[in-house]
């Protein structure tokens, strides 16, 4: 496998979505290719950082408004 083929399959590699045989080939390539290794490490770190990104909380007023609108709508729907 060359760098181009490795590059295309890296997300599936990180997501454990590739057959073991292909993973072995990728690992073999990574052992000898510093730049591909850096791309794997930094891509993995990128995904991790976004996984840990804080969730945006609904402001209290927004939540209240939503529930008020829903009550009005359901009352209207049920006639």
């Amino acid at each position: 496998m060359d760098c181009g083929e490795i590059f295309e399959g890296l997300s599936e590699y990180l997501d454990d979505d590739l057959p073991e045989e292909i993973c072995r080939e990728i690992r073999r390539h990574l052992d000898d290719c510093h730049n591909c290794q850096v791309v794997v490490n930094t891509l993995k770190r990128t995904v991790y950082l976004y996984h840990t990104f804080p969730r945006e909380e609904i402001p209290g007023e927004t939540r209240k408004r939503l529930h008020k609108i829903i009550r009005m709508e359901t009352e209207a729907e049920s006639g």
């Binding site: 760098c3 181009g4 590059f7 295309e8 890296l10 997300s11 599936e12 997501d15 979505d17 510093h34 730049n35 591909c36 290794q37 850096v38 791309v39 490490n41 930094t42 891509l43 993995k44 770190r45 990128t46 995904v47 991790y48 950082l49 976004y50 996984h51 840990t52 990104f53 804080p54 969730r55 945006e56 909380e57 609904i58 402001p59 927004t62 939540r63 408004r65 939503l66 529930h67 609108i69 829903i70 009550r71 709508e73 359901t74 009352e75 729907e77 049920s78």
Partner: protein, 200 residues
Amino acid sequence: MNQTVPTDTQLIRQFRAGEISALEDLVYRYEDQVYNLAYRMLRNREDAEDVLQDTFLSVIRALDKFKGKSSFSTWIYRIATNAALTKLRQRSRKLKTEGEFLDEIYSVHKQAHAGATMIDWAANPIESVLNEEARQVMEEAIAELPENYRVVFVLRDVEGLPASDVAEVLDLSVPAVKSRLHRARLFLRNRLSRYYEEGA
């Protein structure tokens, strides 16, 4: 007393039978996900609130037509995603073209091939790379993704949906989801690399 939590299907059945509070329970169950998805797609609280309201109003109006072919969760994500995309398209801000986006992704490939030694910023401890400024860079980077890539990335890597569910929400094949996800991740990686390498 052992009280089990009702499933989405049970709540829908209760609502159809006239129990209004069952709908409120469904809203409580999904409102955070819908708001977070909308905020990550639009990066604006007012727009996220509009999407939140539009989504649940659409849910109420269309609930009669919900046949349960897909899960309720997938159905609500589909409605929320469409509402967020509609909002995004109403904005006049010019997004990157597909060509510009792909050029940027593959610049890293060219860089690696040109023999440049790349910096492994992932070797730094997590606490040293995750600060307020970095979060800002991460948010801005998502906002730069073209919409087709942004929506896949937010559903898969921010909301944590499996690729098969993302495919169902967006009416795409699983390979198409994986391909868009990979490109979105590479783009975001490039943005973060630029930020961390400049600070190195």
